[in-house]
Symmetry: C2
Subunit: 156 residues, 2 copies
């Protein structure tokens, strides 16, 4: 009974509706979810479990204000390998640094872009030194001044 109109492995309308609601409110109750998508609570429950198993739902997180936890400074750091022939294991070399929130492998001038959160300019300086040492890369840093919006739920 699977629909193949939208491509292999595609999700049908009800599953997308569930993902949309959970992306908007990650703590939405099953009861409320059921009302919104027009199914029984049990059916929604089964679908959510299936979406989790399938990897369509990759977890739930609270958005925390960086300023209030003492990490007011966000920056993007572009990495360029010093030795172009070195093995490409940068993510593994960097994942132990908790200040690095995200790591993207990219096409373009640089090889990776990191998104980081630190307490201060001094903390950023220290982090940059650790990154260069751990990964043998040169870095280019872009400091975030403000964040008009962030991690908005995608249009599902």
């Amino acid at each position: 009974m699977s629909e193949r109109n939208t491509g292999p492995g595609a999700l049908e309308a009800t599953d997308r509706a569930i993902l949309r609601e959970l992306a908007r409110d990650g703590r939405c109750s099953f009861t409320e979810l059921a009302e919104r998508v027009g199914l029984s609570v049990s059916a929604v429950h089964q679908r959510v479990r299936r979406l989790e198993q399938r990897g369509a739902l990759q977890g739930y997180t609270a958005k925390v204000d960086g300023e209030q936890i003492g990490l007011p400074l966000t920056a993007f750091i572009s990495l360029t390998p010093i030795d172009p022939a070195a093995p490409d294991d940068y993510p593994q070399r960097l994942q132990h640094l908790p200040e690095i929130e995200s790591c993207y492998s990219v096409a373009g001038d640089e090889s990776y872009i990191l998104q980081v959160r630190v307490a201060s300019p001094l903390g950023l300086e220290d982090l940059l030194r650790q990154i260069r040492e751990a990964a043998k890369v040169s870095t280019r840093t872009t400091v975030v001044l403000s964040t008009p919006f962030e991690n908005r739920p995608p249009a599902i």
Copy 2:
């Protein structure tokens, strides 16, 4: 060593513990939260409500697999104003585009960095046209090839 968050408006250890757990598991029950931080369920409940009111907790979201919802292509787009004297209202001009997940005002060569998610290269091309038209900016795009890790919970 000096504590990170000792200034006015700082959060104490229990509140930080709550934020840490909710950042790790946004659907964590109050009961489990209470066990982890060593308080009664009601006390945790009160603290969470206070953290929400205070803005330290800015919401809860499910992480959704971009590929499975038909948005497999992520990119960063740097914006440079065409007219340097134009009013700086770019976020307002761009927020109606749902493909734009995040918008950062930055120091450096560019004025803004956008993080976007689209269905295909054609979708990216179309989005770039809309961004240029809406904001009167020139753009520089960096396509994400893979994401070793993303939105890891900060070290609270």
